[in-house]
Amino acid sequence: MTPSPPIPGVHTPPTSSSRTATGLLAYLLAGLYFGVVLVKSEAASWYRIQEMFRFESFHMFGLIGSAVLTGMVTTALLRRSGAKSRDGQTITVTPKEKGWRRYVLGGVTFGVGWGLAGVCPGPVFTLLGAGVWPMLVVLAFALLGTYLYGAFKERLPH
């Protein structure tokens, strides 16, 4: 049997699977880095989240503020330098959808959940890695919440 001619965009060259694997490994390492930072900076600490929402310490505000400032400056520099991503793409930032209802209503809903168990999605995974198994309950119900949004999306104001 003669091999079928390559169709652009359909048949990927054989070298790409190994390239994808090393590419994915880089994201695993990036996640490991971020997980370590979440624990060491105590952003994954229930105590710190409580302190933040009661305005009893500067720690979390300094943490988030300096994170945003660093992200802002370094992302602007990266884009202005005209550098391409590792895989040769032009670096772009996807704009968030317009509107306000979903951001206010969804944002408040998430905030209420965050203030209770003191975890946002990143720390849920990080705490599981740290052996805090009851976070499985949070994760399971977070998946249910995500499903419910998907099921009732059309009926909600956006």
Partner: protein, 191 residues
Amino acid sequence: MTELLDFLRSPWPWYVGGPLIGLTVPLLLWLGNKSFGISSNLRHACAILLPERAKPSFFRYDWKKERWNLMFAGGLLLGGFVAGVLLANPEPTRLSAAGAASVQELGVTVRPGLVPTELTDLSNPGVWLLLAVSGLLVGFGTRYGGGCTSGHAITGLSTLQGPSLMATVSFFAGGILSANFLLPLFMAVIR
């Protein structure tokens, strides 16, 4: 050697941790033009887990293109193990005096660890209620609002996006409300 180990086990001040968090935004852009956001993984997990017939259209897309983010979440687990088990801080979170007093008032003792034992005791039905309600609101709210702390507060604000500012202000409004008024009610059930 013990000094080095003590150093590695210690938590970091905000001015070390904050910039390292912020660097994740350009890191993911450089790695593959990816937009940093963790809660999308909950959607991907639903897309993977739900049977095809029972899938709302919101979950019908090619999640394989988003494998990078699932790998990132896998990395978070590893990072939690490295920093929270291998190099765990033997001391409790160093709260401010006011923070420590409020937490004690809630009926929580400040001990080493990231989450108090009072809130991880699954033999207490009140703990199930707290964790379930919290998870449900986090999952529903992040998808409704189109992102969580990483996607809106860090990435969105770093790239000067108005919707992310609205979302971040709303996260705090919700959190202030629940930590100050709802959590005490849950803790009354748990105690």
